[in-house]
Amino acid sequence: MAFIKLVIFGFIALTVIYFSIAIYSRSVRKERLEDEFDAEHPEGGAAGARDTFIAEGMQDYNNSIRPKLIGLVYVVPTVVIAAIVYTINAN
């Protein structure tokens, strides 16, 4: 039973961490795109150009491997727990 409890609460905790990292990562990328555009177009550029630039940049980000790497949040703790179980209980 304790194992099932650990799995359920661990999954909930890791999901919270997963979404915080995902949101943070997207936010940082978006801010960088905004800064990039503003640096290239000091006068503001054409109407709607900023939004399309950012939307395209975010599309590239979504297709890249970076957001998928955040899934490691689930993998790494599982591997660490397996490693601890092995080292503690092996004689």
Partner: protein, 235 residues
């Protein structure tokens, strides 16, 4: 106010520090003299400091717990500076199972076998049966609290150098986590909270200014009670 803040901060740091000191693994260099099971009736307070029944068993009012009796090398500074003297140390040997703290220890019976074998070794030679015991927890005699042994490794002599790899990795990870949380919080403030506040106008600024002004009034009134000569420059 500043002093109160400092006191609260120190208290929080002390609490967090003692929590980590309780939970993180430490290494003792010991000679095991005996290992035996003993029935333990928990009190309402020291129950907190024991684990639960072996992970395959059911939980009862009391149970037999393995204990390991040792002569331990004393140290200074959390084990960083070795000393020549020894002291008596008693460890309990319980499964932590899948529950807190996350040692995932299921082999208390095996460890008991190891401890008894180690106790039997070279009983006639003075420096023959040294071992490193990895444990967490504290020994508090007046509450009958014992550290929980999680691993026993026989060593050649008592002067072995132990590198606490797990703790090194743990603190590196802790620092990385704190830095990430700070960065994420700042990003969240900058991108989500601050624009909202700006949109709400300067109402909050006004309220804050009002509060500051009131604080200033109270502070000035308090100031009339202070020693006027205290801050006068010395001639």
């Amino acid at each position: 106010m500043q002093r109160l803040k400092t006191i609260v901060r120190v208290l929080v740091l002390l609490l967090a520090g003692s929590f980590l000191h309780y939970v993180l693994p430490q290494h003792d260099i010991v000679q095991i003299s005996q290992a035996e099971p003993r029935r333990t009736d928990f009190g309402s307070f020291n129950r907190w400091f024991y684990a639960q029944a072996d992970s395959g068993s059911t939980e009862m009012e009391n149970r037999d717990i393995f204990y390991i009796f040792t002569e331990k090398k004393e140290t200074f500074l959390l084990g960083f500076i070795p000393r020549d003297s020894t002291e008596t140390m008693v460890y309990r040997n319980e499964d932590t199972g899948w529950i807190w703290p996350p040692y995932f220890k299921f082999d208390s019976s095996n460890l008991h076998g190891q401890a008894t074998a180690q106790a039997r070794r070279f009983t006639d030679s003075a420096d023959g049966n040294w071992a490193v015991i990895t444990h967490y927890g504290w020994r508090i005699p007046f509450l009958s609290i014992f550290p929980n042994a999680v691993n026993i490794t026989p060593v050649e002599n008592p002067d072995v150098r132990i590198i606490p790899w797990f703790n090194i990795f743990f603190f590196v990870f802790l620092i990385v986590a704190i830095v990430f949380i700070r960065a994420a919080w700042r990003q969240f403030r900058e991108r989500s909270v601050d624009p909202l506040l700006d949109a709400a106008g300067h109402q909050i600024d006004e309220v804050q200014a009002d509060v500051a002004e009131r604080k200033g009034r109270v502070g000035r009134w308090l100031g009339t009670w202070r020693d006027k000569n205290k801050n006068r420059p010395i001639k």
